[in-house]
C-alpha cells in the first residue's frame, strides 16, 4: 500500500490539471465530482497508507519513494522524492481528510458562485502543493510546496477579485509571507553551502555531526528557517495578513487558514527539530514567540465583531500554542494540537460560513442573535467546535491537546513558569472569546432573522457533523499520562520527534498543576456567560472604548507597519521617480538642446553680426600670434 504514496499528491494535481484545461467545458456536477473527488480519492489512499503504516511500519519507520531526479548541478542533486514517516502520515491524513470534507462542503456552499470551476481548480492545486510540502524528502521540494501554497492562498483570498479589498488582502498575505519566505531561502542557502545537501534526513545528521550545540551556524540556520515559519504561520511579527485573509470564501479560510497552510510552519519546525535542538536559544525563541502570539491574538479576538475575524485571531492564537509546545520540547504535543485544531477550527469556519450565508452575508455577530433557535444543527456543531477551542475538559479533543501543551510548558526542562502562566492566561482568554462568540451569536434575542428560504443540504451538514464528532473524540488518541497509558500519538511520533525532557525540582509541583488549565478555561467560559449572557447591555459600551478599538485593530500592528515601511518606501519611490540614473543620458540631451539654443542665437541672419564675429575672431587670432 505504501507504494501508492505518490497518488496522494498526484490525485489533487490531476484534478487541478483536468479542471484547468477542461473545467469550462464540464457541467457543474462534473466539476464537483472532479474537484471534490480527487481529494476524496487522495484521502482514501492516505487513510489506507495510514492503516498500512500503523499495522506494518516500514524499516526505520520511514518509507521513501523517489519519482525522478529534478536536477543535478555542481554536486547538488535534487530529486522529486517523498519521505513518509509518522509525522508526514499525520499531516497527509489531516490534509486529505479534512480537505475532502471541506471540498464536499464547498460543492454546496459555492454553488451559487460564478467562479465555481475556478474555485475547485485552485483548491485542488492547493491540496496538491500542501501534500508536496509535507511529503518532500528534501528542503528544496518542500520550498516548492511552500511557495505553491502561498500562491494558492493568494489566488483564493482574492477569489472574488472584482472587489478591490479582496485583491488587497491577497497581496498583503503574499507580501508578508514573502518576507518569511526570503528568510527561509537564505536559510536553505546556508544549509546547502555549509552541509552540502538539502535532503532532510542526511542534512539533520550532518548538522548534528558538524555543528556543536549553540554554534553560530546552527543558530543562524534555525533562526532563518524560523523566520519562514513565522510568516507562513502568521505568528508575531508577521501575523498581520491572516485577519485580512478572511476576505476569501469560508471554505478557503477553513482549509488554508485554519487547518493546513498556517500549520506549515509548525511542520517545518517539527521536521527540522534536530536543528532547533542544536540551537537552544532559537528553540526558546520559538516558545517565547508562541507565547506572546497566543496572548496577543487572544486579546485581539476578544474585541472583534466580525465572526470570521474572531476565528482568524483564534487561529493565530492556537498556532501560537503549537509553537509554544514545540519550543518547550513538547514536539508531539504540538503536533497533537495541530491534529485536533484542524478538526475544530475547520468546523468553526464552515459553520460560520453557513451562518454568514444564512444571515445574507452578515458578518457582524452583534447583528446576529438567537441563532440556536433558527439554525439548530449549525448551533450544536458550532458549540462542539467552540467547546473544543476552549478546551472544555474530557469531552473535547481540545482539552487533551492544549492542556497537554500547557502542562508540558511547566514540566519540561526547556519550559518555564513564566511561559506556563502566559499559557494559562491564554486559556482563560480563549474560553472567554470562544463563548463570547457563542453567546452573542447564538443566544439571546434574535436581532436579525436569517433568510427564511435558506436551505442547508446534506453536503454542508455532513462535514459539520463529522468534524463535530472528531472535535469531541479526536483527542482520545493521546490521554494524559496520569490517567492511563494510552498515549498512542506520542508513541506513534516518537521515532521522529524527541521526547519532552521532564523537569524535576521545580517549585511548582503537585497534581494540582495539571488541573490549572482546566480551571482557567472554565473560568473563561464562566466569565463569558456572565458578561455576554447575563449582562448584555454593558457590553456595548465597553466594546466601543478606545482600548477596545485598539485591540480590535490588532494592537495597531498594521498602522505601525504602515508608518515603518510603507510610508518610507513610498517616499523613496517618489523621490527616485525622477529617475536619477537616467540623468546622465537625459543630461546629454538637455546639454545638446541648450547649446543649440545658445548657438542659434548667433544665427540671426544679420550680416553685421556675422562681420562682428569675424572681427572677434581676428582679434583673437592676432592675440594668439602676437602673444606667442
Amino acid at each position: 500500500m505504501l507504494h501508492l504514496l505518490f497518488l496522494v499528491p498526484a490525485l489533487p494535481f490531476a484534478g487541478f490539471v483536468t479542471l484547468a484545461l477542461f473545467g469550462r467545458l464540464l457541467p457543474r456536477r462534473a466539476v464537483a465530482w472532479v474537484g471534490a473527488g480527487s481529494v476524496g480519492l487522495a484521502a482514501v489512499v492516505a487513510l489506507g497508507i495510514f492503516a498500512s503504516f500503523v499495522a506494518a511500519p516500514p524499516a526505520g519507520d520511514a518509507f521513501g519513494q523517489v519519482l525522478w531526479t529534478w536536477f543535478s548541478v555542481a554536486g547538488l542533486t535534487v530529486r522529486v522524492a517523498f519521505y513518509l514517516d509518522p509525522l508526514a502520515v499525520t499531516f497527509i491524513v489531516i490534509i486529505t481528510g479534512v480537505g475532502f470534507l471541506i471540498h464536499l462542503y464547498s460543492t454546496e456552499h459555492m454553488a451559487h458562485d460564478d467562479g465555481y470551476t475556478r474555485f475547485f481548480t485552485y483548491m485542488n492545486l492547493f491540496v496538491g502543493f500542501m501534500l508536496l510540502l509535507v511529503l518532500a524528502d528534501n528542503l528544496l521540494l518542500l520550498y516548492v510546496g511552500w511557495e505553491g501554497v502561498g500562491l494558492c492562498s493568494y489566488l483564493l483570498i482574492g477569489f472574488w477579485y472584482r472587489h478591490w479589498y479582496n485583491g488587497y488582502a491577497a497581496r498583503k498575505a503574499f507580501v508578508v509571507t514573502r518576507i518569511g519566505d526570503t528568510a527561509m531561502i537564505v536559510g536553505l542557502f546556508l544549509l546547502v553551502t555549509q552541509l552540502g545537501t538539502l535532503q532532510i534526513q542526511p542534512l539533520m545528521q550532518r548538522a548534528a555531526a558538524a555543528w556543536p550545540t549553540g554554534s553560530a551556524l546552527a543558530v543562524a540556520a534555525a533562526a532563518l528557517l524560523l523566520g519562514g515559519a513565522l510568516g507562513k504561520s502568521a505568528q508575531l511579527p508577521l501575523q498581520t495578513w491572516l485577519p485580512d485573509a478572511m476576505a476569501g470564501p469560508s471554505p478557503v479560510s477553513a482549509l488554508i487558514h485554519a487547518a493546513t497552510m498556517v500549520t506549515a510552519g509548525v511542520y517545518l519546525v517539527a521536521r527540522t527539530n534536530v536543528l532547533f535542538d542544536l540551537a537552544p536559544d532559537v528553540r526558546l525563541a520559538v516558545a517565547i514567540i508562541g507565547a506572546a502570539t497566543l496572548l496577543y491574538a487572544g486579546v485581539s479576538a476578544l474585541f472583534q465583531t466580525d465572526i470570521k475575524r474572531v476565528l482568524a485571531y483564534s487561529t493565530i492564537s492556537q498556532v501560537g500554542y503549537m509553537f509554544l509546545g514545540l519550543g518547550v520540547g513538547a514536539w508531539s504535543a504540538g503536533i497533537f494540537l495541530f491534529w485536533t485544531h484542524a478538526f475544530f477550527k475547520a468546523l468553526l469556519f464552515l459553520a460560520a460560513g453557513v451562518v454568514i450565508e444564512a444571515m445574507d452575508d452578515e458578518h457582524d455577530i452583534f447583528r446576529m442573535g438567537g441563532l440556536r433557535r433558527r439554525l439548530p444543527g449549525v448551533f450544536w456543531t458550532f458549540l462542539a467546535g467552540a467547546a473544543a477551542l476552549a478546551a472544555v475538559p474530557v469531552v473535547t479533543s481540545g482539552f487533551y491537546s492544549k492542556d497537554l501543551i500547557i502542562d508540558r510548558t511547566l514540566q519540561s526542562t526547556q519550559g518555564s513558569v513564566g511561559l506556563w502562566i502566559v499559557a494559562l492566561a491564554g486559556a482563560l482568554i480563549t474560553g472567554l472569546y470562544a463563548f463570547r462568540l457563542v453567546f452573542v451569536a447564538f443566544f439571546g434575542p434574535v436581532r436579525n432573522e436569517p433568510d427564511p428560504g435558506f436551505k442547508i443540504g446534506w453536503r454542508v451538514m455532513l462535514p459539520l457533523y463529522v468534524l463535530a464528532t472528531l472535535s469531541v473524540v479526536g483527542g482520545l488518541i493521546d490521554l494524559p499520562p496520569n490517567w492511563t497509558h494510552l498515549q498512542w500519538l506520542d508513541h506513534f511520533l516518537a521515532p521522529v520527534l524527541p521526547a519532552a525532557p521532564d523537569e524535576t525540582g521545580s517549585w511548582v509541583t503537585g497534581a494540582w498543576v495539571t488541573y490549572m488549565p482546566v480551571l482557567f478555561a472554565l473560568a473563561g467560559i464562566g466569565l463569558a456567560w456572565l458578561l455576554y449572557q447575563r449582562r448584555r447591555q454593558e457590553r456595548a459600551e465597553v466594546e466601543t472604548s478606545a482600548a477596545a478599538r485598539y485591540f480590535r485593530a490588532g494592537w495597531g500592528f498594521d498602522v505601525a507597519y504602515h508608518y515603518a515601511f510603507e510610508v518610507p518606501y513610498d517616499w523613496l519611490a517618489q523621490a527616485a521617480s525622477g529617475d536619477w540614473f537616467d540623468l546622465p543620458v537625459r543630461g546629454i540631451a538637455w546639454l545638446t538642446r541648450a547649446s543649440w539654443r545658445a548657438l542659434s542665437v548667433t544665427q540671426n541672419g544679420l550680416v553685421r553680426s556675422y562681420l562682428f564675429v569675424i572681427g572677434l575672431g581676428v582679434a583673437v587670432g592676432i592675440l594668439l600670434v602676437v602673444v606667442r
Binding site: 562682428f612 572681427g615 572677434l616 581676428v618 582679434a619 592676432i622 592675440l623 600670434v625 602676437v626
Partner: protein, 227 residues
C-alpha cells in the same frame, strides 16, 4: 616733411571718423574724398608720388564718383537720412567700437615702436613703371583681367529684365517675408518686380527711368537703356 605727415594724418583720421558718422550719404562721401586726399598727401611724404597721384585720380576721382553717381541716381541721400535717423542708435556702436579698440591695442603692440624712418628715398614713377613691366608684368595682366570680369559682371547685373521673367540676380520672394522687407505698398504681392511692370507703386519700386548700370561703369560705353 614730417610735419606735413602729421597734419595729413590727423586730417585723414578726423575725416574718416566723420565719414562713418554722417547720416546723409553725400556728406559721408565728400568727407571720404577729403580722407583720401589726405592719404595721398601721406603717400607723398612717404616718397611715393606716383601712388599719391593714383590715389587722387583713381580712388577719389573714379571710385568715389561712382558712389556719388549711384547715390544721386537712386536718391539714397535723403532716404538714407530718414532711415539712419530712425534706426541707428548711437549706443549700438559700443560693441564694434570696443572691438576696434581691442584690435587697435593688439595692432599697436604688434607694430611695436621705434622703427626706422622712412620716406628718404623718393620712388618715382619711372621705377614703378620699370618694376611693373618687369617682374610684375603678370600682375598687370591679371589685374586687367579682373577689371574685365568686373565690367562684364556689372553690366550683366545691371541689365534690365527681359520681356518676361526676372532680371538677372532677381529672386522671387514669397509673400511671407518678414514684415518690412516688402515694399511699403507691395503687401500681398510678389516682391519680385519686373522693371516696367509696376509704374505706380510709390516709393518702393524704383522709378521707371532707372538707368542700367552699364552707363555708370568706369570703362564702359553707354549701353542701351531698356524700358
Amino acid at each position: 616733411m614730417t610735419a606735413t605727415f602729421y597734419v595729413a594724418a590727423a586730417v585723414a583720421v578726423v575725416s574718416t571718423l566723420l565719414v562713418i558718422t554722417r547720416t546723409r550719404a553725400l556728406h559721408a562721401l565728400l568727407f571720404l574724398v577729403v580722407s583720401l586726399t589726405a592719404v595721398a598727401v601721406v603717400f607723398y611724404t612717404l616718397g611715393a608720388p606716383f601712388v599719391a597721384a593714383l590715389e587722387i585720380i583713381i580712388y577719389a576721382g573714379a571710385i568715389i564718383v561712382l558712389f556719388v553717381f549711384t547715390v544721386m541716381l537712386l536718391n539714397i541721400d535723403t532716404a538714407s537720412e530718414r532711415g539712419e535717423r530712425a534706426r541707428v542708435r548711437p549706443a549700438w556702436g559700443a560693441g564694434p567700437t570696443a572691438l576696434a579698440l581691442v584690435l587697435l591695442v593688439e595692432l599697436a603692440w604688434a607694430i611695436g615702436s621705434g622703427g626706422p624712418h622712412v620716406g628718404a628715398r623718393v620712388v618715382g614713377p619711372r621705377e614703378v613703371g620699370v618694376a611693373l613691366y618687369g617682374p610684375y608684368a603678370i600682375g598687370v595682366e591679371l589685374a586687367s583681367t579682373l577689371l574685365l570680369v568686373a565690367l562684364i559682371g556689372a553690366r550683366h547685373l545691371g541689365q534690365r529684365a527681359r520681356q518676361t521673367g526676372l532680371a538677372p540676380g532677381e529672386v522671387e520672394l514669397p509673400v511671407d517675408l518678414a514684415p518690412g522687407s516688402l515694399a511699403p505698398e507691395g503687401q500681398g504681392e510678389l516682391v519680385a518686380m519686373t522693371a516696367g511692370a509696376h509704374t505706380d507703386q510709390g516709393a518702393g519700386p524704383p522709378p521707371d527711368h532707372e538707368p542700367s548700370l552699364a552707363e555708370t561703369g568706369a570703362d564702359e560705353r553707354a549701353e542701351r537703356g531698356e524700358s
